[in-house]
Amino acid sequence: MTPKRIDLPQGTLDLLILRTLSLGPQHGWAISERVQQISDDVLRIQQGSLYPALHRLERQGWIKAKWGASENNRRAKFYELTRTGQKQLETEQDTWEKLTAAVGQVLRAV
């Protein structure tokens, strides 16, 4: 029995990507694997949304891309967080935590 997967709420994909990359440069596949692993397979990123998101973040200047060799020595495109990306991550993380805390509070109180 696989655990029940949850669809990503709107806007959280960027946050997950930025957070994953804050641990160090990664290629696309590794990002989706990492998120899936850490979330105990609850969160799974669709490739159809991952790559457009990566290209969008790159254009926004929050991450930058570099070609390098993967673990198994294949040519892969690695993404890393830029300085503005780091700042963006902090703001977004902060917002997210406030939001979830607030929502949780309301849910518990009622």
């Binding site: 159809g48 790559y51 457009p52 290209h55 254009r59 926004q60 200047g61 993967s70 495109k77």
Partner: protein, 908 residues
């Protein structure tokens, strides 16, 4: 921001590299994923299959990535365009038909819009035209004893409007306004143009001369092309007589020779010096008015134009135009100038202005100087509306054709959807195709338009009363209009097929089963395609009905009984005063002319009168009639006539006698027409009765005869009480009754006049039917163009119907084959197809009748003895639609009867 720009530019210029990298990146992901599945124990094939399933449409992801990088817009538009061009080139007939259809629709719109632009929209060709204002006053009624003249610069008075309006102002008031420099930086006045006889440059010619204040050119900001323009000093009494030439006139009459500056000429037999040429950009002030030269107002007496003079304060004839002082609003200027106006009218006791509640308004010059807009703005708007309907019809037509084609392209769309193309991408592709088509159509249309426009210009100027200046060139505004029309059309006809094209069932299409696929689309497509045909028929019904109403009106007007014989009548005007004749010399001149022209072979008889009948103008006077119980004055039209007038015009004598030699100047004898008698002297013997003005010095006319009624001013006029008196002086219209076609005698008549006196210019030689045609210009313009549009609309509707039924027949080939195999007769199959077409035509005609019912009311003012709901016209246009409809249906129907059952059944 920098990264954004960098990535966009890189996407644009390093497209292939970026594309390769994207491929690499995604392939790497797929390989990693496949490795993972293989580790988990799947076979390589199963792993790859699973990866593809996970991934979904690869093309779709790539497209999204491109979008995310912001490549797309520019680049994919380019790609769409290239693809669209290839697709269209593959179906050349379809493409050609559509482009030609669109070119006709858009070209017609461009042509009419050029006309609207020239007459109604284009800014005055002077410096900062938005600062110019024109002074216009209004009053409850025309003040008595006010002598005004108008050259049609401003709005005509509507019969139903509560107040009368006029731009004509007296010279002293103009001078006061000119001193109001706090509100108007500069002010000028003009009157005219009116005909002047110019000699000193070859034979005497007739020119249009305008009398203007010395400030005219300064106020407008018009500079000379050569020499100088008029300056304020030229307005001084006793200043040298000088003239400034219009640029186009200078080119036309003087061959653009620079030696003209300083040349001496004679205007109305008075010496003038040409001092300069106005700049070429200054083509007109009032729309449609053509001016050949300008002279100062102070020269009015020497030109014999005392009415335009400055001396008489009761003479209101000047149009006053000012340039607003910067920072002064229209309302502020109006308040200041209205005060002046009220003061001036309060000090003009003769007119009793206070009882007329007068007021002065300032209008922007663009709006206030209407000129030919007075005549043409209504028919032009009407034509614009009609041509808009044609464009709509074109859209419906092309949409129908595109829709049928979209059905034929279902396979292609299905393949592209299956490959992962997004629906919006397909819609965009299809819209690109239709926009490309409409732009090609627009280009062709814009190339066609100048030919149509020059045809229209000829039609206009051939029918103008006085030389008509119509600047019909295609400018940026017109091109913008065409572009907008193309854009709207492209979206208009493309949108339905595009959405339809993107919503198709994948499986049935890919299976290649055309019948089921078509069946799937059938209900929807059929109704949309049919609706488009119904729309086309309805629109062409509206235009057809409009054209029919106008054509029948024209027929009615042409068949009107004018009261005199309008055929074989040649008319020309002369004004001996312009050539320097004294009053007492004139009768002798007319006698000579009459005798010599009558001697020409082909001339039956000759006479002359102060005005030509059915020629647009008339004169009238308020007079009292003896023996009437009602003592007030009544309006009587008056015409001064020469010897033999009534036999020449073939106006019958009803009672009494015609003029004879004893009825000379002092005899005060007159003839009246039948309406005069029935309206004012009913039941009494008119002979011997008197009528005349109420001033003791006014002559009292004795009625010696009664003649038949004639139309005086125009065919639409009612028969009005008219009095005819012997002609003694002034300019006249000669009336020449001819045996052969009157136009053939034009040259001979001209020769006679110049042999009598070379300095006597022949003005406006025309036949009576030319004059009537000119009077009916608006009706003819609208009828002719609507007729053309109606033919175009009918043709388009037929093409639409033909296209739909052809498509239906080819789609139902198999069904028809089965029917034929089962024994259906050819006649049955024929009528099956035709019935469908006729049903659509009938629906369209009914809808069109309803729309026409609502829209033809706009034509009411142009119609004559005919109601906009005239049933005969409606029946006629529905009948025409039906006949042409059957014709358009019968070709596809014929093809249906030729379907060979064996081939049809094998084609699966």
């Amino acid at each position: 921001m920098l990264s954004d720009l960098y990535i966009r530019l890189r996407s644009l210029f390093r497209r292939s590299k970026v594309e390769l990298e994207l491929d690499d990146e995604l392939r790497f992901h797929q390989e990693q994923q496949a490795d993972k599945y293989m580790h988990a124990g799947l076979s390589r094939d199963a792993a790859l299959r699973q990866v593809r399933l996970d991934f979904g449409g690869l093309a779709q992801i790539k497209e999204d990535c491109r979008d995310a990088r912001g490549i797309s817009i520019l680049e994919s538009i380019g790609r769409d365009l290239r693809f669209a061009a290839r697709t269209l080139a593959k179906a050349p007939t379809f493409t050609a038909i559509i482009i030609i259809t669109l070119a006709l629709g858009i070209g017609a719109n461009t042509a009419i819009f050029t006309l609207v632009d020239a007459v109604m929209l284009r800014a005055l060709p002077v410096r900062d035209p938005q600062q110019l204002v024109v002074l216009q006053w209004s009053a409850r009624d025309w003040p008595r004893d006010l002598s005004t003249s108008s050259f049609g610069d401003c709005a005509f008075n509507q019969h139903n409007s509560a107040r009368v309006t006029s731009c004509s102002l007296p010279y002293p008031l103009f001078k006061e306004v000119q001193n109001q420099t706090k509100v108007l930086a500069e002010t000028m006045a003009f009157v005219g143009p009116s005909p002047m006889s110019l000699s000193g440059n070859g034979a005497a010619t007739n020119v249009q001369g305008e009398l203007v204040s010395g400030s005219y050119f300064e106020t407008l900001g018009v500079s000379p092309a050569l020499g100088r323009t008029l300056v304020p000093d030229d307005e001084r009494s006793g200043a040298p007589a000088v003239a400034v030439l219009d640029y186009a006139y200078w080119q036309r009459a003087f061959g653009g020779s620079p030696a003209v500056v300083g040349q001496a000429i004679r205007l109305n037999d008075s010496a003038f010096t040409i001092v300069g040429i106005a700049e070429p950009e200054f083509t007109r002030l009032t729309p449609g008015k053509s001016v050949d030269l300008w002279v100062s107002l102070s020269q009015a007496p020497s030109l014999g134009k005392q009415w335009a003079g400055r001396s008489n304060p009761d003479n209101w004839g000047l149009v006053v135009v000012g340039r607003l002082q910067p920072g002064v609003s229209l309302a502020q200027a109006q308040t200041a100038l209205n005060l002046l106006f009220m003061n001036a009218t309060a000090h003009a006791p003769k007119q009793h202005w206070e009882t007329y509640n007068p007021r002065l308004d300032l209008l922007p010059a663009q709006q206030g100087l209407r000129g030919i807009r007075n005549l043409y703005d209504k028919p032009l708007l009407l034509l614009m509306a009609a041509v808009g309907l044609i464009l709509l019809l074109t859209c419906a037509n092309v949409a129908g054709l595109t829709l049928a084609r979209a059905a034929a392209r279902q396979r292609e769309m299905a393949v592209r959807l299956a490959m992962g193309a997004a629906r919006r991408r397909i819609i965009r592709q299809l819209l690109t195709e239709s926009l490309l088509l409409s732009f090609l159509g627009a280009v062709l249309g814009a190339l066609l338009a100048p030919a149509v426009v020059s045809g229209l210009a000829t039609f206009f100027s051939r029918n103008a009363w006085s030389p008509l200046q119509l600047d019909l060139h295609i400018d940026a505004r017109v091109l913008l209009f065409t572009l907008a029309a193309a854009l709207l059309t492209g979206i208009g006809f493309g949108i339905a097929p595009a959405f339809r094209g993107s919503h198709i069932s994948l499986t049935s299409n890919l299976k290649g089963n055309t019948t089921t696929a078509a069946h799937h689309m059938r209900t929807q497509l059929f109704s949309l395609g049919s609706a488009l045909v119904v729309l086309q028929v309805a629109l062409s019904m509206v235009v057809l009905t409009g054209a029919g109403l106008l054509l029948r009106t024209l027929e009615n007007l042409r068949r009107i009984d004018a009261g005199f014989d309008t055929r074989n009548l040649l008319i020309f005007d002369v004004n001996p005063q312009l050539a320097g004749y004294k009053d007492e010399q004139i009768p002798r001149l007319y006698e000579v002319l009459q005798r010599q022209i009558a001697a020409l072979p082909g001339v039956t008889s000759v006479s002359y009168a102060s005005e030509a009948l059915m020629d647009g103008g008339y004169s009238s006077r308020d007079m009292k009639i003896e023996g009437r119980s009602d003592k007030s004055k009544v309006e009587i039209l008056t015409l001064r006539v020469g010897p033999d007038y009534f036999p020449t015009m073939r106006i019958p004598l009803l009672a009494g006698r015609l003029f004879n030699l004893t009825d000379n100047t002092n005899a005060n004898r007159a003839l009246v027409n039948r309406s005069f008698v029935t309206k004012y002297l009913a039941g009494r013997n008119p002979l011997g009765m008197h009528f005349g003005g109420d001033d003791p010095q006014d002559p009292q006319w004795e009625i010696v005869g009664v003649v038949g009624d004639t139309k005086f001013g125009s065919p639409r006029d009612d028969d009005a009480p008219t009095a005819f008196m012997p002609l003694t002086s002034g300019g006249v219209s000669f009336e020449i009754r001819t045996a052969p076609a009157p136009a053939m005698l034009m040259r001979a008549v001209r020769n006679i006049v110049s042999s009598v006196d070379t300095n006597l210019p022949v003005l406006r030689m025309r036949t009576q039917s030319d004059s009537i045609d000119r009077l009916l210009f608006n009706e003819r313009l609208v009828a002719r163009l609507l007729g053309l549009f109606a033919a175009l609309g009918l043709l388009l509707a037929c093409i639409g119907l033909y296209g739909l039924l052809s498509y239906e027949v080819s789609r139902r080939t198999r069904e028809i084959g089965i029917r034929a195999a089962l024994g259906a007769q050819r006649g049955t199959i024929w009528s099956m197809v035709v019935r469908q077409g006729i049903l659509l035509v009938a629906l369209g005609a009914i809808a069109g009748c309803g729309a026409a019912f609502a829209l033809t009311r706009l034509l009411t003012s142009l119609l004559y003895s005919m109601r906009p709901t005239d049933p005969f016209t409606y029946a006629l246009s529905s009948g025409m639609l039906l006949i042409f409809g059957i014709f358009a249906c019968s070709l596809p129907a014929l093809r249906a009867t030729r379907v060979d059952p064996t081939t049809a059944l094998r084609c699966e």
